[in-house]
């Protein structure tokens, strides 16, 4: 319905404009109908280009022929079919409108097909990523769940025979695994906050230190005795971001640094404000990263070669990458002489700058 109105509107508008121009031209002294017919032909081409299908073009061409005949050829304001070459004018105008309509319709159709194909490709790509993630996740979730179910079942079944310390140990395991699961689920939930279609996030200006402090507080809930040393510029610093997501990135990176570095030295978190972006650097003083795996570290495949292999850090890192990319920032991993270092940047936006 809306389309019909639009097409009709375009047609009528072009016809009206060309008629007005023709009348002006005619009254200014040029009485040659051939020149006036040119105005109508131009209008016909424009109509055919801007409407869908053939109908509007054909109707318009009939109108044009009639208009030239009635208004601009002698006898004026009368239909006269006996004029010389009348059928030729009519046929030419009809041909112009049909050819233009055909060409534009074909171009439009081709464009639609191309768009469709592109969308399908993007969709399969998205599906593939989703399937990979799901596979990795369900594998990673099953291990702690097995331990939780096993420990709780043995606790219930052998309640009488187990010593108190044994019960406590089993329950502690359950608690630990549940905590790990929660971490995992929170990671996955953050991904759902990234909008599906555009791959972008809703940003709002946030105070950097507030985000860092909440990330550290949340992490302390689970690991109360980790040590982090934060150094950041004295100035008030606001960066546009989705705070929940960036918190998750900080938690993932800091927790990796604390738990997997096998070092008791405090982790350094350094924030630096550059011209166009803010740079966060997380540096630990532990065993460092496996150089072989470094290029693939954000692809969700990195595993620690320690005993508890399921507590791998793969998904956490690939989620960090997804989040930072959605913020149009960059994330890199490297080794320095005493351990590992992760760096990510978030772009500043001019309009968010604030002079405190």
């Amino acid at each position: 319905m809306k389309n019909l109105l639009k097409n009709l509107g375009t047609t009528l508008m072009f016809l009206a404009v060309s008629s007005v121009l023709s009348f002006l031209f005619f009254h200014l002294g040029n009485k040659n109908p051939a020149n006036i017919a040119l105005f109508y032909i131009l209008a016909l081409i424009l109509i055919a280009l801007n409407t869908d299908g053939y109908v509007y073009g054909i109707c318009a061409s009939i109108f044009c022929v009639a208009a030239v005949n009635i208004f601009f050829t002698y006898p004026f304001f009368k239909m006269d079919f006996t004029l010389d070459g009348y059928p030729v004018t009519f046929l030419v105008m009809l041909a112009v409108s049909i050819i233009t309509s055909t060409t534009t319709t074909r171009i439009k159709k081709q464009k639609e097909i191309l768009d469709e194909r592109e969308r399908k490709l993007a969709e399969t790509e998205k599906e593939r990523i989703r399937a990979n993630l799901l596979r990795a996740v369900s594998h990673d979730l099953r291990t702690p769940l097995t331990s939780i179910i096993g420990s709780s079942a043995s606790c219930m079944e052998d309640y009488e025979t187990l010593a108190d310390e044994e019960k406590l140990e089993l329950i502690t395991n359950i608690n630990e695994d549940a905590g790990w699961l929660l971490n995992m689920v929170e990671n996955l939930l953050t991904v759902t906050r990234i909008q599906d279609d555009s791959g972008k996030v809703k940003k709002s200006p946030e105070v950097v230190e507030e985000v860092i402090s909440e990330a550290i507080t949340r992490m302390r809930k689970r690991n109360p005795d980790i040590k982090i040393h934060v150094s950041m510029p004295q100035d008030f610093l606001m960066v546009p971001m989705d705070a929940t997501l960036i918190e998750q990135v900080l938690i993932n990176l800091l927790e990796n640094a604390c738990v997997h570095s096998q070092s008791v030295k405090p982790v350094d978190l350094t924030v630096a404000s550059e011209e166009d972006f803010v740079c966060f650097k997380i540096r630990d003083y532990g065993i460092g990263l496996d150089e072989m795996q470094l290029p693939y570290i954000f692809e969700g495949k990195y595993t620690c070669n320690t005993v508890d292999s399921y507590r791998g850090i793969g998904i956490g890192l690939s989620i960090c990458k997804t989040i930072i990319t959605a913020h149009s920032g960059t994330i890199t991993a490297s080794n320095h002489e005493n351990g590992a270092e992760f760096t990510f940047t978030l772009p500043k936006e001019r309009e968010y700058e604030y002079d405190a």
Binding site: L182, V207, E209, V211, I212, S213, V230, M232, A243, T244
Partner: protein, 244 residues
């Protein structure tokens, strides 16, 4: 004879209901349970609990309409239990009149602390004597409301009038989360601009004056997207609810 506080738990998840009521009974609270909104409203009307723990996602009634209904006639503290991480919902519940919120999953100590804080604040309403104006104290920080002086380790910290107003308001509500909107209207008046940037700039300055490490604060915590929470006044922590 010890008087027990009555806690009403409104929660449709049976396991959580069991676990919370076990913990609370252990800590000398009298526990009432409701797993639907209708049941909850009739219990609130007949039993008048001292504090309400409310899960927002109930099967029959929307959690926020329970807050609205209770607030129409009672100032009983309400702590919202929210499974959702959406800040907007928390802010909406707080603005409707809920006293505080706790996000699932929560630990027992966190839950008990929240309940204690909310009870303490609700009881403050009945003791409006001038004697009750005593300083806020936490760690080495001391805030004297009558002299309007804030000291850390005995050393006076200079605050601008606006900064003092913010800190004082948070200290009076210590332990509770205070939304941006509540601070804005309390400090700048009801017609304040709803843009909270001015508040956050002031807060950053306050943090630089009070905290040794602004990124790991000891006194004023940020709840990103919701507001601020000042560490609980230590004077009251010593008097547990069961001792009254």
């Amino acid at each position: 004879m010890t008087h027990k506080f009555t806690v009403l738990i409104i929660e449709d998840e049976k396991n959580i209901l069991t676990f919370v009521s076990k913990v609370l009974k252990k800590h000398e609270y009298k526990v009432l349970c409701a797993d639907t909104g209708k049941e909850a409203l009739s219990l609130i009307g007949s039993q008048c609990p001292d504090i309400i723990l409310l899960d927002l996602g109930l099967p029959d009634i929307d959690g926020s309409s329970i807050i609205r209904e209770v607030r129409a006639w009672s100032s009983t503290p309400i702590i919202v239990i929210s499974a959702r991480s959406a800040e907007k919902e928390k802010v909406a519940a707080l603005d409707l009149g809920a006293d505080d919120y706790i996000t699932k999953p929560f630990g027992t100590s966190e839950l008990l602390a929240r309940i204690r804080t909310s009870l303490r604040h609700s009881n403050r309403l009945y003791t409006e004597s001038s004697l009750y104006i005593r300083p806020y104290q936490c760690g080495s920080m001391l805030l004297d409301f009558s002299k309007r002086i804030l000291t850390i380790d005995g050393e006076e910290i200079h605050l601008t009038p606006i900064e003092y107003k913010i800190v004082a308001y948070l200290a009076q509500n210590s332990g509770k989360v205070i939304t941006y909107a509540a601070i804005l209207s309390n400090v700048w008046g009801p017609y304040a601009d709803s843009d909270n940037k001015i508040l956050r700039v002031n807060m950053a300055n306050i943090r630089r004056k009070l905290e040794k490490d602004p990124a790991q604060p000891q006194y004023i915590y940020t709840e990103v997207g919701v507001g601020y929470r000042m560490k609980e006044d230590e004077f009251d922590i010593t008097s547990s609810p069961s001792a009254e």
